[in-house]
């Protein structure tokens, strides 16, 4: 019987595929934990802070406005994490990109280069991408864990930003971006607000949304997405079947650098200036968001939507605490607790899904 030809597949096989219920299907998605956590956190604040007008468009707008920059970073960080690598230097790249724009546009009297805004944006983008490529190349060349490499570059880039800015301008903050030619276009693209229901929604939310959709599409519906999962899941196996794992990794380090640049631009336009310390701690917040959103620290599993939901939870807690009037000192306790809870819940779900 071992050698007899097997009858060709027919319709019955099709039916068995559909046997899996919608519930089981949902549970096998990586972002389900984050979705449930989001609902729980929202309900919690809706109850605790209902007399503080938590359920309002104004609060919703401020939650989304806070979540957007973090979400942009978290989505990129999630892609990289799925491919099995970390980028702890994103926060520093935000500071670097913002400051490089400001240095380029600041008039020479102020110690800058006096460029118009658009070329400054392009040059800082190129520099940021180079930094991303540098991170990736060093990780691949040294074969060291990216956690360590980017922990190093986290300090290197922050230090460089501070040192160069201070050297050129003897300051740590540069302003006056609104005086630079080209600012009006940049403001439309990166700094405008949409008024809906009487509340101000930042255009950054749109960027965040678009990036999440693109990232999700890439992950689930393109070759590159398959390669990202494969690279993070088992790098040797992926390489054996012809996945260009090195290219995938470098491209994703450049993606996180791109996301950092985008956030830097959005913030620079919003605040018409930059600070050398901008983006501090964003790397950890982004990793928290990605992990809460279902990314495995070991790679090979996760989702961009999950990372976005994670960023939303982060912002919800932040704004919820502000609205409730609870001492903001409790924020970190809350976030840490949610991180642990979400990770445990994700693990539990994953085991259930695997056993199904």
């Amino acid at each position: 019987m071992a050698t007899t030809a097997v009858p060709p597949v027919s319709a019955p096989a099709d039916e068995r595929v559909r046997r899996k219920s919608l519930g089981a299907r949902l549970l096998s998605r990586p972002e389900i934990g984050a979705l449930i956590a989001l609902v729980l956190v929202w309900v919690f604040f809706a109850i605790v802070a209902h007399q503080h007008n938590f359920i309002s468009w104004a609060t919703t707008a401020s939650v989304l406005n806070t979540a957007a920059p973090l979400g942009i970073i978290a989505v990129a960080v999630a892609l990289l994490m799925i491919a099995g690598e970390f980028d702890l230097s994103v926060g520093s790249i935000i500071g670097f990109a913002g400051m490089s724009i400001m240095l380029l546009v600041t008039p020479s009297i102020g110690g800058g280069f006096g460029w118009p805004l658009v070329p400054a944006l392009i040059v800082s983008l190129v520099l940021s991408l180079l930094i991303g490529a540098f991170n990736g190349t060093v990780v691949l060349a040294t074969k060291l864990p990216s956690f360590i490499v980017t922990l190093g570059t986290l300090f290197v880039f922050r230090g460089l930003t501070i040192a160069i800015t201070r050297l050129k301008t003897s300051r740590t903050q540069l302003g006056g971006l609104d005086q630079i030619s080209g600012f009006s276009i940049a403001r439309k693209l990166f700094g405008s607000n949409l008024t809906l229901f009487g509340s101000q929604f930042s255009v950054a939310i749109l960027w965040w949304l678009v990036l999440t959709i693109i990232a999700t599409w890439i992950l689930l519906r393109t070759r590159a997405g398959n390669w990202i999962f494969g690279t993070g899941g088992a790098v040797d196996a992926a390489r054996n079947v012809g996945v260009p794992t090195r290219r995938v990794k470098v491209a994703l380090f450049m993606t996180t650098a791109f996301a950092a640049w985008l956030v830097a631009v959005i913030e620079a336009v919003q605040f018409t200036g930059a600070d050398v310390l901008r983006g501090e701690n964003q790397e950890f917040q982004a990793i928290i968001a990605a992990v809460v959103g279902g990314c495995l620290l070991t790679g090979g599993y996760g989702s961009a939507i999950g990372a976005s939901l994670g960023a939303l939870i982060f912002a919800l807690v932040q704004q919820g605490i502000v609205v409730t009037g609870v001492d903001a000192d409790w924020f970190q306790v809350f976030i840490g607790g949610i991180l642990l809870g979400a990770v445990m819940f994700n693990n539990f779900i994953r085991r259930r899904a695997a056993l199904r």
């Binding site: 071992a2 050698t3 097997v6 060709p8 597949v9 096989a13 068995r16 595929v17 046997r19 899996k20 096998s28 599409w217 519906r221 393109t222 070759r223 997405g225 398959n226 390669w227 999962f229 494969g230 899941g233 088992a234 040797d236 196996a237 992926a238 054996n240 079947v241 012809g242 996945v243 495995l296 090979g300 599993y301 695997a354 056993l355």
Partner: protein, 322 residues
Amino acid sequence: MSANGTPLLDVRHISKFFGSVIALKDVSMFCRAGEVTCLLGDNGAGKSTLIKTLSGVHRPDEGEYVFDGRAREFTSPREALDLGIATVYQDLAMIPLLSIWRNFFLGSEPTKGFWPFRRYDVKFAKETARQELSKMGIDIRDPDQPVGTLSGGERQSVAIARAVYFGARVLILDEPTAALGVKQAGVVLRYIVQAKQRGVGVIFITHNPHHAYPVGDHFVILRRGQVFGDFPKSEIGLDRLVQMMAGGEELENLAHELERAVGKSEASEELVRAAQALEAEAGGLTERESPGPRPPATEAPPSAEVPADPPGTGAARPGPDD
């Protein structure tokens, strides 16, 4: 058993050195389409190096690699793969967290549409994965299932089906049954036969003669980096294969060791006898070792049986002098 024709893959007098280590020395072996060539050897016999040479990871330092009638020099496994030489590694075949269909097409994803909207043809991939697997007789419940939820045997089987689907003409299987239980190993052996019946030349690497014997057409035994013999199935029985795998000298040493440990016994004498028989035969065989189509080895000279008769004479060692 098809084609007594020319070998599809044929390596001749291959040697591979790593610094002062001679990993392979003067190794010749071949594989025909629609046949299973079993490559047997104990740990350290050079199996891994030979596989890596065959699959294009290593380049041989000496010797010739002929595939499909032409001499080849591979600089990467990808080149070998493009010619249809596919290798399924023991534990590096699949990505556990990825679904079956994603694993099946990993690295060779079907796409549709035009850039920048070119996308993974998910429907085709799922359909094809299921069809191809069931052609191999692999019954999967759901192609969306992560490969990690499959058993070890099923995983190897999916990897084999994948290689066959992507046009493997020679399939190199690196110890596919090593980590498996009896039943699971049986599953994999079935798919090896399936692949063979579909005209693929299979090189089945194992150190388990009990797995090799039922599916193999001929058996190449590797010992200490050299080919110890190449036997068609018609000329060798399972018991002989087992004996040879263990190696004559090793058996003899073991016998002496046992003797020292527990004193002379019937079992140890038996072992010594078996070892001597093997040594004698090895001499005869390595003499005959020659490139190209092997002569139909007219079973070991009668001298091989000689030492079996006088019992216990451990010192009398008939040399390979004929």
